[in-house]
């Protein structure tokens, strides 16, 4: 016990002496109180045994080290006991500990943790302290879990993270989490933290303040803007993205003259998302000069005349002059102009047509791909639902399933600008026409739990896939999503699918039973999700209504990460 005081002198000397003698050997050195010869090792061991037991029997407590300040109190209510037990179970099922291979009918518990955390956070429960280490370990391995896990883990987890280097990530990423992240109400303290804090603390402070008082956050940033480093300016500027409004224009306009090119580009991007900004107006003029309707033909057609040069004014407004390798620079400039121009300008420019009519116009000389792609980026950046709708087209259209002008990733982004119900209808229609093979990315943007049309379309499509005789693992991505996102109340409708069907002639051997197993796991997981939510319902007096299952899942699930 190195830190415990030994017994009083003179024993330590004797002990050192014994150790030295033992190391050298009694042939070279005779132990104190003994004589050279065959008895010497024996005497040494006798003395050492006595000293060892004496040392151990005489151990005294060490001096206490400096105690850490106690963890801040967590005023949130404790979890209901059943939910606390469930959390232990969910955290036990860590990825990598399973044997791998086929999944069988048992649910994948780790994948349910995000939903569980979201629901627990919606109720405002405190995490049980003994679960914090496992929770922090889980969040360490999965960055997508971190925001919800840290919010649930609360102030004590941050206190713990200061003591364990493995959990440093918790101190870096405390947006909306613990004590340090909530911006202090006191303006003096805010200013002091802003001026003296570490970079991570300052980002957290700015983000928190921006979500509450956008103008105050901008003012805070403007006060020290000139003295910040370029990398920091970029990060701070980026945090203005939340709550962006016309009031931000003067500040952003000034940032267009920044020394750093990345800062200028970000400022331009933010300004172009404000359709009434001066920059948006300049971009509209430039873009409109390049795109026109040719009425001289039998059928009206869009003609494109890409810019011939990238002048200083364009560069100042964020247009990157140098095209990436393999792209023509004129089409590169055009794409940037159209992307940054407010979509509202096109109707005026193109003969008073609606977005849908504009998108339907043929485009001359093979410019359609470039032009439509730029409009897609603009619709996403400006969150314009009407243009998104037009660019998405009908979900059942034949080109919607193939590699058209609009890629699946772009579609997913466009869908993100539509209201949840409309998004669900569109995705359901897409799946009904095109099946599941292309649907994974689109399903990822649907609100959880899935609205009824999406759920129905997915289950029907899975059923069709089974009847077609393919193996279920061709659909494992969608299956996994369905386990996490299907409304738990759909479980009842799936019961009919659990039986092992008769195998058709042309089916893959054994596919039927694998499907039954996959559906079994789906149903099991749905039931378990319903249970999880019920367990989290606060213990209410009998008269009160229990929280409806499925009402507290605000997160959109990303694709499963491993």
């Amino acid at each position: 016990m190195s830190r415990t005081a030994d017994t009083d002198a003179p024993l330590p000397d004797t002990w050192e002496e014994l150790v030295t003698t033992a190391l050298l050997g009694t042939d070279r050195r005779t132990p104190a109180g003994s004589v050279p010869g065959p008895r010497a090792p024996h005497d040494l061991l006798d003395a050492a045994a006595l000293a060892t037991v004496r040392r151990r029997a005489g151990l005294r407590p060490a001096r206490a080290a400096r105690r850490p300040a106690p963890a801040p109190a967590d005023p949130r209510p404790a979890l209901p006991p059943a939910a606390a037990r469930r959390l232990t179970l969910l955290l036990t099922d860590r990825p990598g500990t399973s044997g791998g291979g086929r999944r069988g009918t048992a649910p994948d518990l780790m994948e349910l943790l995000p939903q569980w955390l979201a629901a627990a956070n919606a109720h405002g429960y405190a995490a049980p302290p003994e679960a914090l280490p496992a929770l922090l370990d889980a969040a360490r391995g999965r960055t997508d879990l971190r925001p919800a896990a840290l919010r649930f883990a609360g102030p004590r987890a941050l206190w713990l993270a200061r003591l364990n280097p493995d959990w440093r990530f918790a101190l870096r990423a405390t947006h909306g989490g613990g004590a340090s992240a909530s911006a202090p109400d006191d303006p003096d303290r805010t200013r002091r933290l802003w001026q003296e804090g570490l970079f991570a603390e300052r980002v957290a402070l700015l983000t928190a303040l921006r979500s509450r008082a956008p103008a105050a956050a901008r003012a805070l940033l403007a006060a020290t803007w000139a003295t910040e480093r370029a990398e920091d300016r970029l990060m701070f500027l980026d945090s203005l993205r939340a709550g962006l409004g016309p009031d931000d224009e003067p500040f952003l306009e000034q940032a267009l003259a920044d020394r750093s090119r990345n800062v200028r580009a970000t400022a331009a991007e933010l300004l172009s998302a404000l359709p009434d900004s001066a920059l948006a107006g300049r971009m509209a003029l430039r873009a409109a000069a390049c795109v026109a309707v040719d009425r001289t033909r039998d059928v009206p057609m869009i003609v494109v005349e890409a810019p011939h040069e990238c002048d200083a004014g364009m560069e100042r407004d964020g247009v990157v002059a140098k095209a990436p390798a393999g792209r023509g620079e004129r089409s590169w400039w055009l794409g940037q102009l159209v992307e940054a121009a407010p979509l509202g300008c096109w109707s005026r420019r193109l003969g008073g047509r609606t977005p849908r009519e504009i998108v339907a116009l043929p485009v001359a000389d093979g410019w359609q791909g470039e032009l439509h792609a730029a409009w897609c980026r603009a619709a996403v950046r400006q969150r314009n639902a009407a243009w998104s709708r037009a660019l998405l087209g009908e979900p059942s259209a034949p080109e919607a399933g193939g590699p058209g002008a609009v890629s699946l990733a772009e579609r997913a982004q466009l869908l993100g600008t539509l209201p949840a119900a409309e998004r669900a209808e569109w995705v359901a229609g897409f799946i009904e026409t095109h099946g599941l093979s292309e649907a994974f990315q689109l399903l990822g943007v649907c609100a959880v739990p899935w609205a009824a049309p999406v759920g129905r379309a997915v289950v029907d499509a899975l059923n069709i896939a089974r009847d077609a005789g393919s193996y279920p693992w061709s659909f494992s991505g969608v299956m996994g999503l369905a386990e996490r996102c299907l409304d738990p109340s759909e479980a009842g409708r799936l019961d009919a699918l659990l039986a092992v069907p008769d195998e058709p002639e042309d089916a893959s051997p054994g596919a039927g039973s694998y499907w039954a197993e996959a559906f079994q796991r789906l149903v099991t997981t749905l039931r378990l999700r319903a249970t999880l939510l019920t367990e989290l319902a606060p213990p209410t007096p009998p008269a009160a209504e229990p929280a409806p299952a499925g009402s507290v899942e605000p997160t959109a699930p990303g694709p499963a990460r491993r």
């Binding site: 016990m1 190195s2 830190r3 415990t4 150790v19 033992a22 190391l23 050298l24 050997g25 009694t26 042939d27 070279r28 010497a40 090792p41 024996h42 061991l45 006798d46 045994a49 060892t52 037991v53 151990r56 029997a57 005489g58 151990l59 407590p61 060490a62 001096r63 080290a65 400096r66 105690r67 106690p70 963890a71 059943a82 037990r85 232990t88 179970l89 099922d93 500990t97 399973s98 044997g99 069988g104 009918t105 048992a106 994948d108 518990l109 302290p129 003994e130 914090l132 280490p133 206190w159 713990l160 079994q520 796991r521 149903v523 099991t524 997981t525 039931r527 378990l528 249970t531 367990e535």
Partner: protein
């Protein structure tokens, strides 16, 4: 509780798992959808059908209220006990009250229960009519004598080897490496002195480890010498110490102390061991007697030892001590009721008193590594590379044992404390303190740390 039946918590169930793979597999099966026809009856019989990969579902039945420990039966081919299905079933029961409703046991469960009852009757019947003693007491005495002679020969050889070692010096011995110790250990196994063999093997692990190595090596050599000498002169030792020497050397002993009935709190349960043998330690505290007792049980490769007592429960049972002065080891005798959850906590002491207790225990057993103690109002505090548990109201502390620093239990201890004083049960010895269970400052259940 009779209406409710015995119901274990998730932690308690997971502690039963023979290894981490079963723990994971079991927790995946602890959801309602994996099971059909699940039910329970009696005090603690739980059953269900689990969808398996094979032709039909596996039939799983567990009896947790059996006085001789939990019993499992599953039709799956796994050789692990309990298998993942048994664990999953218990987790299902631990999770939601309505997941496993009270029901009439189906035929296959009733068969199993009646089979077990028959075995139970045979066993108690045997106890009522004790088997005729050793066939020939004279032969048994001769066998014991022969064994003692072999151990004596082993002890003499060990003394000779230790003397040779110190004549040449520990520094020189470091060069001959691990093989020397392995060979000596094998000789001790031949001499039927398992206790000596085990200590020699640990010496091999110590040899040549870091700066503190020589000191630890000398300490352990000296204690080994002390044990050898104790054996050679056992006739002249007081009876208690002689019994301690016999058990430390490795002679078999039986728990023949008088049975002590008490409400025993289960403070901690943990397994150590290698691929061949798992050793399970269960620490119990008698609330009436104030005694702390250790149950040791063993499991062969891949099997969990058969004694499984959930931490945080108390059991009304008789314990019989093993011989030897100051030995905490005991054997579980009759259990009068299945383990039941309890909020009772053992009384605690200060760090200084804990070390005094260790010192006093060394008087009866100088080979003792640590003593079980409960510390009251202590705070885990980081101290350089290590940790301590410091008294909340004094300037004194115990360093944590090096092995305890790398365990996940350390962080549970720190998390439960949050810088506030807690009550901690653990083992206190010359290596430091090893925390095994913690109770939060306010109300709350015990949290296992091992």
């Amino acid at each position: 509780m009779t209406e409710q039946g015995v119901r274990w918590t998730v932690d308690q169930v997971l502690a039963l798992a023979p290894d981490s793979a079963s723990r994971t597999a079991g927790s995946r099966l602890g959801a309602a959808g994996s099971w059909s026809g699940a039910g329970r009856c009696g005090e603690g019989t739980v059953w269900g059908l689990c969808e398996g990969g094979g032709s039909g579902p596996y039939r799983t039945v567990v009896d947790v209220a059996d006085p001789s420990g939990p019993a499992y039966r599953c039709s799956c081919p796994s050789r692990k006990v309990p298998c993942k299905h048994a664990l999953g079933l218990l987790l299902l029961r631990a999770g939601a009250e309505e997941a496993v409703p009270r029901a009439r046991a189906p035929e296959w469960v009733r068969e199993w229960i009646s089979g077990r009852r028959a075995t139970e009757r045979r066993r108690t019947g045997d106890a009522a009519h004790p088997a005729p003693g050793p066939a020939d007491p004279e032969a048994a005495r001769r066998r014991a004598e022969r064994r003692a002679e072999r151990v004596t020969a082993g002890a003499l050889e060990l003394e000779q080897r230790l003397a040779d070692l110190l004549r040449g010096g520990l520094a020189a011995a470091g060069e001959s490496g691990y093989g020397l110790w392995e060979e000596t250990a094998a000789r001790m196994v031949d001499a039927q002195a398992q206790g000596l063999a085990g200590r020699v093997r640990e010496l091999g692990a110590l040899a040549g480890t870091g700066p503190g190595g020589p000191v630890r090596l000398l300490e352990e050599c000296a204690l080994l010498h002390l044990l050898g000498q104790g054996w050679l002169r056992r006739e002249r030792l007081p009876e208690g110490l002689a019994a301690t020497v016999r058990s430390r050397v490795g002679l078999p002993a039986s728990a023949d102390g008088p049975p002590v009935r008490d409400h025993w709190l289960v403070l901690a349960q943990y397994d150590t061991g290698d691929s061949r043998l798992t050793t399970r330690r269960v620490w119990l505290y008698g609330t009436d007697s104030g005694r702390t007792a250790l149950l040791l049980s063993y499991g062969a490769a891949g099997r969990a030892p058969d004694v499984a007592l959930p931490v945080g429960t108390a059991l009304d049972a008789e314990l019989s001590a093993y011989p030897g002065a100051g030995q905490p080891r005991a054997a579980l005798g009759e259990q009068f009721a299945p383990p039941a959850p309890t909020a009772v906590r053992p009384p605690g002491t200060t760090t200084a008193r804990a070390l005094v207790r260790y010192g006093e225990a060394l008087r009866d057993d100088p080979w003792l590594e640590s003593v079980p103690v409960t510390l009251e109002r202590v705070v885990p505090v980081p101290d350089g590379d290590g940790w301590q548990v410091a008294d909340a109201d004094q300037d004194t502390a115990l360093p944590l044992a090096p092995a305890a620093r790398s365990r996940p239990g350390l962080w549970r201890l720190v998390a439960v404390s949050g810088g506030a004083p807690v009550r901690v049960f653990g083992e206190c010895g010359h290596q430091g303190f090893t925390p095994l269970a913690v109770w939060p400052e306010g109300p709350g259940e015990v949290v296992p740390l091992c």
